[in-house]
Amino acid sequence: MTRFVAERLLQSVILVLIVLTITFFLMHLSPGDPMSRYDDPNISPETVRLIREQLGLDKPVPEQYMRWMASFLRGDFGVSLRFNRPVSSLLAEAIPNTLRLTIAALTLYIVIGVILGLLSAVRRYSLFDRLSTIAALFVYSIPSFWLALMLILLFSLKFEILPSSHMQSMGVSGMGWLARFSDRIAHLVLPAFVLGVASAAGMARYMRGSMLDVLREDYIRTARAKGLSERSVFLKHAFRNAAIPIVTIIGLSLPFLLGGAVIIEKIFSWPGMGALMVDSIFARDYPVVLAVNFVVTVMVILGNLAADIGYALLDPRIASGRKAGK
């Protein structure tokens, strides 16, 4: 297992470098450059040239790449062209915010998805199963930005029970911790729901299908023949097996969650990496874009690694295969 993890981490390092290299050149290939915001008659071309030189933007792209990579490998993400602040301090603010949002969405989606999927499988072809099938299809196919706007319209504007933007209310700092905590949760509800609900719908379908497959297996009949209750048959014997493919699905869903966070953060003015990424791309703030890209890539890789480890832990056939022999 340790060897497996080590191998995967080594592969991941190479993968990260490739992703960053591609991003770097793609960005420089795309039209526009960080200096376009100095397109101002009041700033002399000479000043712009000086700034350009100072930032190293006058050098040929390959040289810029080598320089950037050299400092990146030393752990230095550089300075944001837009904010004139170290990229690392921007990330330090944005990463926890994005994590808070995606972890909330992930939890929501796994819990809702697994429970609905299990219930559907247990009551196959019941009214509940049919309704949840239709609901899942509906939720899965509506665009998340539209759903976000509709929910904001409903809960923020019409009923005024949930906030529609930012992570906390103004002037919240004067309140007690409980009030602050519930204020934060209230801000989290809509974005996390919108981000997680489509995946939850997908998860419910996978879970249902996986359970129904497993319930047809011979060993389920054996479990019943032992005299076990339906509850044990479902939750112990069937669920443990049905959960194995689901772990992979969760790992594969991470890029979609993080990608979805970009749009959701913009809509809900959530100060996370998604919003930072979008704004930095428009401003051609190269160091920030690269750094965010790096962080997201690492998150996806770690998530997938965790999913693979979880898979191996759940499925003894794989775990012992790695112990070589036996």
């Binding site: 009949r221 054996t222 023949a225 032992k226 005299g227 443990r240 003894p316 036996k326």
Partner: protein
Amino acid sequence: MDKLLKVENLTTEFLTSEGLARAVDRFSFDIGHGETVGLVGESGCGKSVTALSIMRLVSDPPGRISGGSIFLEGKDLLSLTEKEMRKIRGNEIAIVFQEPLSSLNPVFTCGEQIREAIALHQKMGRKQSREKAVEMLRLVKIPDPGNRYFSYPHQMSGGMRQRVMIAMALSCQPKLLIADEPSTALDVSVQSQIMELLSDLRDAMSMSILLITHDLSVVAQMAERVIIMYAGTAVEEASVKEIFSDPGHPYTEGLLASIPRLNARVERLSVIPGNVPDPLNLPSGCRFSDRCPKREERCFAKEPPMFVAGKGHFVRCWLSEGQER
């Protein structure tokens, strides 16, 4: 003496796209205390469905027990609630399935799967039930049972897995063991070991066995009595001795002729031409009439009842016409 199991007119149907298929059709038989009864018939004649019906494990839908009764020591199993039935399964009646490779759960250790049954029915704690499970593994002659307890099914051979299944089935000292072709899926050399093990354990534990097989020679070794099943119902019932010496039904004769014999080097085994009829369109009259080498006009007209052909010997054939059972 009262019988351990008494099955009367058991009828089990499956709803298929072509209609209602009667896999088991008014099938009656019984098993005495400590008796081993062989249930023999070709593939598809309804042996496994009978076994599942006794356990009330026929998957519903599409299957349903639509008639008859099953008495275990006088208690009608078909009238029990699901909860009461769970106390019977694995405890008073246990089953060893046809497919040892897929019948064990791949994500739990073999020991745990045995322990679970013990803990459930014998109200034992974790430690005690674990010791009992190891003891069961030893009983079915699995080497190094203390360590094998922690093996997963995929780490064991087919024969070992079937031993685990047997250990699981016997772990609560059932009164009746249903062994559904316990050795068919295994290598020939392993087959005889499994049958030998079953035979030893039966003698040690004084239980009754319903031994399902399509191999009459297996029955000859182990059973006292044989029921020949054809297209969902019994066509002949007799002691093992009489089945071999004096078969009454042409179908039984066909089955006997298809056993390979050491002394007669037959080029090709004599097999009965044709297949078990589809339960959806049985021939009219006797259900064997379309394949029977001795059929007569009357065989197509009316299904024969079970006729008495001797003491404890019954035949469902017009050729044995006489006193009805």
